[in-house]
């Protein structure tokens, strides 16, 4: 059963008299207890998609349409996210779906103590008395591995390191065991040794609370570590979809293949790095045909003229490319 199902999601942003098409017809579904990743470079629309799931965009400037945007809560009722009012969303957020962000310091209130911010979740959603809420907060802080939680509860965000702040956000997001956790680049701002800790914590929390995970990242290493299934996005479209093992071992879209090739393996030393030529196109100025055509090593006239659809290659594998890739790689 799907916890989240999105069909043909389009997100436009108004810029002056023009529109930027940030997301152009994306289909995403997240099954119960499944760990799904969206991977792509900056500007590909992955974060915008994540924010749309929580309905955190304001209209204007954002205009969101979808054929289907359904989230199924714990009790099995389907919710149409696009039709929800802000008040209805308040009830869903934290209890049913929660999100953690890249830069934890931006999402903590600098003039409230850590304890007060954690208490809020319990006070607003569970209608607890402050004292009881604090007891639960301390309990949560222990669960996410914060040493000396009583002391930390009385501190302000600036007194905590980045890793600890991210732990606090994870505590907030998972304290009511939501059904879906959306993690938007949760470790990009952290050091590698802290990244290892945080990824382990997220996995642990998801397993314990039986949460589904939607992981948004640019790092294929994180995808491999955290997800079962992955969507590769480029310029607002999904270019490849499949299980993590399949995509990382036998990528079929030239973009996915190029992304993986740019990461040199740890075994043998290389003298030069494989590079993708040119830059990601500007969102107002995407190529006419396939969006990757100007950077693709296998581009043909057909690619330049007409945008390829997302071909279904069976077993949940989908590829936005005219060519079967094995024949391409051999060229």
């Amino acid at each position: 059963m799907n916890v989240l199902e999105i069909k043909n999601l389009k997100i436009l942003f108004r810029v002056g008299d023009d529109f930027v098409r940030a997301v152009e017809g994306v289909d995403i579904h997240v099954g119960e207890g499944e760990r799904v990743a969206i991977v792509g470079e900056s500007g590909c629309g992955k974060s915008v998609t994540g924010l749309a799931c929580m309905k955190l965009h304001t209209t204007p400037p954002a205009y969101i349409t979808a054929d289907k945007f359904e989230f199924v809560s714990h009790d099995g009722t389907p919710h149409d996210i696009l039709a929800k009012t802000e008040n209805e969303m308040l009830a869903l957020r934290a209890e049913e779906m929660a999100m953690i962000f890249q830069d934890p310091s931006t999402f903590l209130n600098p003039v409230m103590t850590i304890g007060e911010q954690l208490d809020e979740v319990f006070i607003y959603h569970m209608h607890m008395k402050p004292k009881e809420a604090r007891r639960h907060s301390i309990e949560m802080m222990k669960k996410v591995g914060i040493p000396d939680p009583e002391m930390r509860a009385g501190q302000y965000p600036h007194e905590l390191s980045g890793g600890l702040k991210q732990r606090i956000l994870i505590a907030m997001a998972t304290s009511l065991s939501p059904r879906l956790l959306i993690a938007d680049e949760p470790t990009t701002a952290l050091d590698v040794t802290i990244q290892a800790q945080i990824l382990q914590l997220i996995t642990e929390r998801c397993e314990k609370e039986k949460m589904s995970l939607l992981m948004i990242t640019h790092d294929l290493g994180v995808v491999r570590e955290m997800a079962d299934r992955v969507y590769v996005m480029y310029c607002g479209k999904i270019v490849e979809e499949g299980t993590v093992d399949e995509i990382l071992t036998s990528p079929r879209h030239p973009y996915t293949k190029a992304l993986i090739d740019t990461i040199p393996g740890m075994e043998e030393k290389v003298d030069r790095f494989v590079q993708i030529p040119h830059n990601v196109p500007h969102p107002m100025n995407k190529p006419a045909g396939c969006y990757f055509s100007n950077r693709c090593a296998y581009c043909t006239d057909l690619c330049r003229a007409k945008q390829p659809p997302l071909f279904d290659r069976g077993n949940g594998r989908k590829i936005r490319c005219y060519y079967e890739v094995e024949e391409l790689w051999e060229k």
Binding site: E41, P147, L164, T193, Q195, A196, V244, Q275
Partner: protein, 326 residues
């Protein structure tokens, strides 16, 4: 391998932090007794987590922050805390730097040729025609076109801006280029473009790089020598291949195991460190990694970090455990 062009001798940088007007200021130890050697023509990697002092070390070598004690030898000069401004100016002629964030390191009110030729202007060249010609000679080498000379930086993407920054570092014929995380602000698909460019330029101009990065896999592939820093101290240094083949300090091991592998068929054992780095303010004189070390022993908590000992050809490490395991 060429001669040593930069050698630090117990280089130390402290910052004084005043809590209030009265009382003794606290000592923030950013770089502590660092000894590294960079040879002509090589790429020397400096790796560590944020706050470990790798950028401060680079800034001290460039003279951006004052040295507290120790010295370094560079291009025939010995620079200490007492060196004069004129001497710094002389040494800095040989060095240039490429910063991490090309969105803040380039002047938005200058055109590209003005940015690129600024080091020459500072060196005393005032003839605009000459400045422009020198800039024009370089732009194509870094992968930009002559038409870009009169444009402003806001018209360029991150990768292109970094190319401008690299051209600026090259124009005054510097021999040592200090690259402070030159790719970490860029998109993944542009990383390799910039790395390849740096490698090509090294061939062409015979450059030496001090390459600062937290990305170990990058360091592995492009550097000949490297140093691993933790909270201001170099834990391990030497030939990159030797360190990767046989890391001898627990911190280096943990750092290497934290590299995320992309290939699902390969599985490595992960060491997940507990806790976080201690505060660099008034650190006790013991091993700074002791509070997180998975193999901590009594000596680590009570005695100062031992001096570097050789653990193989071109490979030194500092750890109480060395020699005890066998």
């Amino acid at each position: 391998m060429g001669e040593v062009i930069l050698k630090t001798n117990d280089l130390t940088v402290d910052f004084k932090i005043k809590k209030n007007v009265f009382g003794k200021p606290d000592r923030l130890s950013a770089v502590q007794n660092v000894n590294i050697e960079i040879r002509r023509g090589e790429i020397y990697g400096l790796v560590g987590e944020s706050g470990c002092g790798k950028s401060t070390l680079a800034n001290a070598i460039l003279g951006f922050v004052p040295i507290t004690s120790g010295s370094f030898e560079c291009f025939g000069h010995t620079m200490t805390a007492a060196s004069k401004a004129s001497e710094w100016k002389e040494v800095r002629r040989h060095m240039q730097t490429v910063f991490q964030d090309p969105y803040s390191s380039l002047n938005t009110r200058f055109t590209v040729w003005q940015i690129i030729s600024e080091p020459l202007y500072i060196a005393g060249e005032r003839d605009e025609r000459v400045l422009r010609e020198r800039a024009a000679a370089l732009v194509e080498k870094v992968g930009l076109s002559l038409r870009d000379l009169d444009r402003y930086v806001f018209e360029f993407s991150g990768g292109q801006r970094q190319r401008i920054a690299i051209a600026r570092a090259l124009i005054a014929n510097a021999e040592l280029i200090i690259c402070d995380e030159p790719t970490s602000a860029l998109d993944v698909s542009v990383h390799s473009q910039i790395c390849n460019l740096l490698l090509d330029l090294r061939e062409e101009f015979g450059l030496t790089y001090l390459f600062i990065s937290h990305n170990l896999s990058l360091i592995k592939h492009i550097t000949e020598h490297m140093a691993v820093m933790y909270l201001g101290e170099v834990m391990e240094s030497g030939a990159t291949d030797a360190i990767f083949a046989d890391p001898r300090t627990p911190y280096t091991e943990a750092l290497m195991s934290a590299i995320l592998e992309v290939n699902p068929q390969k599985d490595r054992e992960r060491i997940i460190l507990s806790g976080e780095a201690r505060s660099p303010i008034n650190p006790p004189d013991i091993c700074r990694f002791a509070n997180r070390c998975p193999r901590v022993c009594e000596a680590c908590r009570t005695m100062p970090l031992p001096p570097a000992v050789s653990v193989g050809e071109d490979h030194v490490a500092r750890c109480h455990l060395i020699g005890k395991e066998a």
